[in-house]
């Protein structure tokens, strides 16, 4: 019985040792090799003082090393924390400080960026995966040395111990660390492999980078069933014609990504020239899929089944909707469907009272896939759960998704929008308030507002600046780039004279969004 996430790898290393576990371009790693290498890495980490409950940063581009890193860290009893290679050193440093990371796993390809982090932050004492770094008192060990380290038994931990922390943007500007246990991660892997009937012969296409939570489908669910995951290199994500070629060559059977990647494949992937008959499930999630594109893709791949998968990273996933009939011409949204068998969903009003069938409200979710909480964030943790009494001192705990949904009957939950101003763009979760917060920290900015341009599905921001300041748009964009993840940087930042306001004198962001819809960039 597999009780900890890494046990999947060791299990299949015994069952089918020579089976490819992960592939990256012309390299691959078998289950036996993965099992051994991760045990060696765990030994190296433990020898460097890593123990149960510690956090270890994964600072790697998509690669085979990333899978060795996450399973090795978990075998050492620690939780892995994916660090986005494209994020600024400032933002990465914020995460490293916030969850107390003092050991990183990296690669010589990342040396320049790694050096930037080490120069700015002195908490790191150990970097595995590079030969040397230009900083005093930092232990290093390259991958070759890891490959020759002794194989050690894993640290003793239990399923309730933490396994990984995924950072997402928070409304105060500080990132939020979604903390999952082996139990919650594995409950997700079990449920989703059952839902899509994953078999050892399946080949997953890993599109999402590690710091994007849907990557857990490829990294946890595939190894649970002894399947193979093909890690798709970053450059393919911008080159749909090469991506579709790779999908064909690798005979992928399962695909899970945000809708945007599928739309790009449909529009620019020369799909008519590709044989993708092997695809049996195309799963999408993270944001709504425009029905016109989905419909066209379903026509393109008639043999595949399509499924909408819904759930905030805090509960991994919790509902699904299989699309088994052609979409109606006037279909305006794809349902998020029915709750998983292992999850309970309750829709409540502003007062936390369950709403009547057909009325909209916030979705609360209770499931074994739920996170333990946000790392080092007592206030967030005090507010993000709803408790329903069972008996004196015994409560059911629900996660407040903040998503407004309605039950349209026949197992069709419909997603209507975010309760607060958190939005999803190309699968990334972005808090508009965080963007405003960052802009407002600029010394020359008076007030800032971030808003969505609905017709183009992108973010813009507008600011008023102090009299006499010569601040310009380019400088503001640079300022944002240092403090925000790439995907949260406004497409354009307008310097304006005066904000439109509501009757209560609040900035009217809805009006801003309409005012500038279709306007030229600055």
């Amino acid at each position: 019985m597999i009780k900890l996430l890494y046990e999947s790898v060791d299990h299949w290393a015994k069952q089918s040792p020579d089976k490819e576990a992960f592939c990256y371009l012309d390299q691959s790693i078998t289950y036996r090799e993965l099992s051994h290498l991760t045990s060696r890495l765990a030994g190296v980490l433990m020898a460097n003082g890593i123990k149960r409950g510690d956090r270890v940063g994964v600072f790697l581009a998509k690669s085979l090393e990333s899978t060795i890193a996450i399973y090795g860290i978990m075998k050492a009893g620690a939780a892995f924390v994916p660090l986005d290679p494209a994020a600024s050193p400032e933002r990465l440093g914020g995460m490293i400080n916030h969850c107390g990371i003092n050991c990183l796993i990296s690669h010589p390809d990342m040396q320049t960026k790694l050096q930037d982090i080490l120069t700015s932050f002195d908490d790191i004492t150990c970097v595995i995966g590079v030969n040397s770094v230009d900083a005093p008192d930092i232990q290093t060990m390259d991958w070759d040395q890891v490959a020759h380290a002794p194989i050690v038994p894993p640290a003793r931990i239990i399923a309730q111990d933490i396994a990984y922390i995924m950072y997402t943007s928070g409304s105060t500007g500080a990132p939020k660390g979604i903390t999952h246990t082996h139990a919650s991660g594995l409950a997700y892997a079990h449920a989703i492999t059952e839902l899509y009937d994953v078999q050892p012969a399946d080949r997953f296409g890993n599109h999402a980078p590690l710091h994007f939570d849907i990557s857990t489908f490829d990294y946890f669910a595939a190894p649970l069933r002894g399947a193979t995951t093909v890690i798709i290199p970053e450059p393919y994500m911008k080159m749909p014609a090469s991506l579709s070629e790779l999908m064909e060559k690798e005979r992928l059977t399962l695909w899970f990504s945000a809708p945007n990647a599928l739309i790009q494949l449909l529009l620019n992937g020369v799909l008519e020239a590709r044989d993708l008959q092997s695809l049996r499930w195309v799963i999408f999630g993270g944001e709504p899929f425009p029905p016109k594109y989905l419909s066209a893709l379903m026509t393109q791949w008639p043999q595949a089944r399509f499924s909408n998968s819904y759930g905030p990273a805090e509960v991994n996933m919790c509902s699904y909707y299989h699309i088994d009939a052609p979409l109606a011409k006037d279909a305006d949204a794809i349902p998020i469907g029915r709750m998983w068998d292992i999850a309970e969903g309750v829709i409540v009003d502003e007062m936390d009272r369950p709403v009547a069938q057909g009325e909209q409200g916030e979705l609360l979710v209770r499931a074994p896939t739920r996170m333990r909480g946000y790392w080092n964030a007592p206030e967030l943790n005090a507010n993000c759960f709803y408790t329903r009494p069972v008996s004196a001192g015994i409560n059911d705990i629900f996660y407040r998704t903040g998503d407004i949904v309605v039950d349209a009957g026949e197992n069709r939950l419909m997603f209507l929008g975010r309760k607060d101003r958190q939005i999803k763009l190309r699968g990334y979760r972005i808090e508009l308030d965080e963007i405003e917060y960052v802009l407002a920290t600029h010394p020359d900015v008076e007030e800032a507002a971030a808003y969505m341009i609905v017709s183009g599905a992108f973010i813009e921001a507008a600011v008023t600046i102090k009299t006499g300041s010569e601040l310009n748009t380019a400088a503001l964009t640079d300022y944002c780039m240092a403090k925000l993840p790439n995907y949260a940087i406004p497409k354009t930042i307008r310097i304006i004279e005066v904000f439109p306001r509501t009757t209560s004198q609040k900035i009217d962001r809805r009006v801003l969004g309409q005012m500038y819809d279709g306007a030229k960039d600055v």
Binding site: D109, P233, P235, M237, K238, P240, A241, S242, L267, N268
Partner: protein
Amino acid sequence: MKILAFISVLSKYTRMNIIGNADKSVISDFICEKLLNNRSIESDENLLLSGLLDSLGIVKLMLFLEEKFSITIPPQDVTITNMASVDAIVGYLDKRPDHP
């Protein structure tokens, strides 16, 4: 006749080579100055799978090529093979039917 054909092939080769070299330095300079913060590159250095160019860099490079050479690069040509290195890009431009 054979000699004429040879000269014709030779002149075609030389012409392409000259254009190729000019293209090469224009492309290298753009990548080095605008995308890599003045880090110099070899013409056969892998730009994509090495992680040298990030996704934004790839988009900027496409836009530059389209503008500089007054061409449209169709989606099926935006591939890992065609854009792998400066040499690969020059090779791709030479191969295009609209190349001068």
